[in-house]
Amino acid sequence: MAPVVAVEDLRKRYRARDPYVVDSVSFSLEPGEAFGLLGPNGAGKSSIVKIIAGLTRPSSGRVTLLGGSPQDPAARAALGFAAEEPDFPKYLCADEVLDYFGRLLGLPASERRRRVSEALEWSTLAGERRQVRHFSKGMKQRLGLAQAILGRPKLLILDEPTADLDPLGRRDVRDLISGLKAQGTTVLLNSHLLSEVERVCDRVSIMARGKILKEGPVQELVPEGRTLEEVFVQLFDASAQARDAGLPAFIAENQPRPGSI
């Protein structure tokens, strides 16, 4: 079966004088699997998902999304993308945003109404009449997830989906990923929350400074009795340049006591 996403020797830099933020990255996603992209800040994870979603062009290399180019709107028809820190047209309400996006997905009116209603219920935004500009970060994140699943995607990309969610919201996202996997949807999860990734992903790729350090099934990467977080930290420390992990010097300096001159 053809992979849902194939990334071959992908490189990306934003300006000619800058270093590559993604450097010779290759991987593929099979139908129905949940794939975790892990790495510290600046590892290049968000750049990769933006290239897969057609938002940014690669400097070199090849990306195939559902058999086509990510730049081709038709290839994005079966893509659901929940961005990191999502935002939406500020003066629209949640149901209007979903109706808007349903139209962009080409959903017929009756189906659009049904899905919008159900997505609002799922995201606990049903009955919310305020405009998006009055939403909290968590509400925007929920709306971001609702719009990502609106088109019943074959590939769902979640970029830090639980960053602004409360524990109940995180549980909902876990349940969502499990449910979609069961339906055959491929999930690409980009997250700092390694415990979440460990719970839901079949395979992970650990990145640092634009390169993949290690990739494989979670069971193979995480030995018995250890956690993904421990493996991640060990891998990252081994690849990172030596640095003094101590506190900044000014913290340890003697400070005058309150009231003294």
């Binding site: 709107p73 893509l79 047209p89 500020k90 003066y91």
Partner: protein
């Protein structure tokens, strides 16, 4: 096309919910109404002709200012808010081409500006009718020319907001618009042989074909003609010592001709293409 219309629909909905444009329109309409009422309530023995002259002079100040401010308000927000907030990330990840997105934005922004122009045109015609009428044609074409001019200004602001902060974009377009107007004035001086230096004439001519030509109606000439009529003055040909004669009214700019309208259309198409290209190249 359905996707472009979806973008247009929700962009229009957003624009109608932003208060700034409506505050400008409301103030403009109130001022136009005030200009229409003023001659009836202010003391003095005014003829119909006096009232129309005063009214046209007033409209000449209020309507262009209000419509230009609306164009800036729309141009600054219509695309920039999506880009600035990151909303465009979720939109561009959907199966919509960037051309459809830009097309939808243009339909919404241009549609709103035309609606605003129609409001000011109707308002101006009503107050002219209430003050003796007779110059409906020139008022209509003045508003039509203004509508055409502000669409270009809005497009310029929209293009710049793809790259830079919308306030900076508006300031740059304001400066550009001023320079374009000055270039047009200089060009008129070249045409009337006020500027005679060959190098200066060449430079002005080159600059003239680089900036958009503001479309104008016969309003200015009409006002002057009415002022002369009021004073029962007859302007005849004036001849200089070298035997060349001209009518002073000819020195007052007349309505834009076909060349200016074609140039405006060409500029519109060129700016539209630049906007499509800018959005297509935008990495979000």
């Amino acid at each position: 096309m359905p996707q472009a219309l979806a973008v247009a629909k929700y962009t229009l909905l957003e624009l109608t919910r932003r208060r700034l444009v409506f505050v400008i329109v409301a103030i403009g309409v109130a001022l136009v109404a005030g200009l229409g009422i003023a001659p009836h309530v202010l003391p003095g023995d005014h003829t119909d002709q006096d009232r129309v002259i005063a009214l046209l002079t007033g409209l000449q100040g209020v309507v262009p200012t209000a419509m230009t401010l609306c164009a800036f308000a729309v141009g600054m927000t219509v695309m920039n808010h999506d880009l600035d907030s990151g909303a465009v990330v979720s939109i561009f990840a959907k199966p919509i081409s960037r051309a459809s997105y830009t097309g939808g934005k243009l339909i919404a922004a241009t549609g709103l500006l035309l609606l605003i122009s129609a409001i000011f045109t109707s308002g101006s015609l009503i107050v002219v009718a209430a003050n003796g009428g007779s110059v409906y044609g020139v008022v209509f074409w003045t508003c039509a020319a203004l509508a055409a001019n502000i669409v270009l200004l809005m497009l310029l602001v929209m293009i710049l907001t793809v790259y830079i902060n919308n306030v900076v974009a508006a300031a740059l377009v304001l400066v550009f618009n001023y320079l374009a107007a000055q270039t047009q004035s200089l060009h008129a001086m070249v045409q009337h042989n006020v500027i005679t230096d060959a190098i200066a004439r060449t430079l002005v001519n080159i600059a003239y074909w680089g900036v958009p030509h503001e479309l104008i109606s016969n309003l200015q000439r009409q006002i002057m003609q009415m002022q002369l009529d009021t004073r029962e003055l007859v302007v005849g040909a004036t001849c200089d010592g070298h035997g060349s004669c001209y009518n002073p009214l000819d020195r007052v700019p007349g309505a834009s001709g076909a060349v200016d309208i074609i140039f405006w259309a060409g500029y519109l198409v060129a700016l539209g293409l630049v906007l499509f290209w800018a959005v297509r190249r935008k990495q979000v």
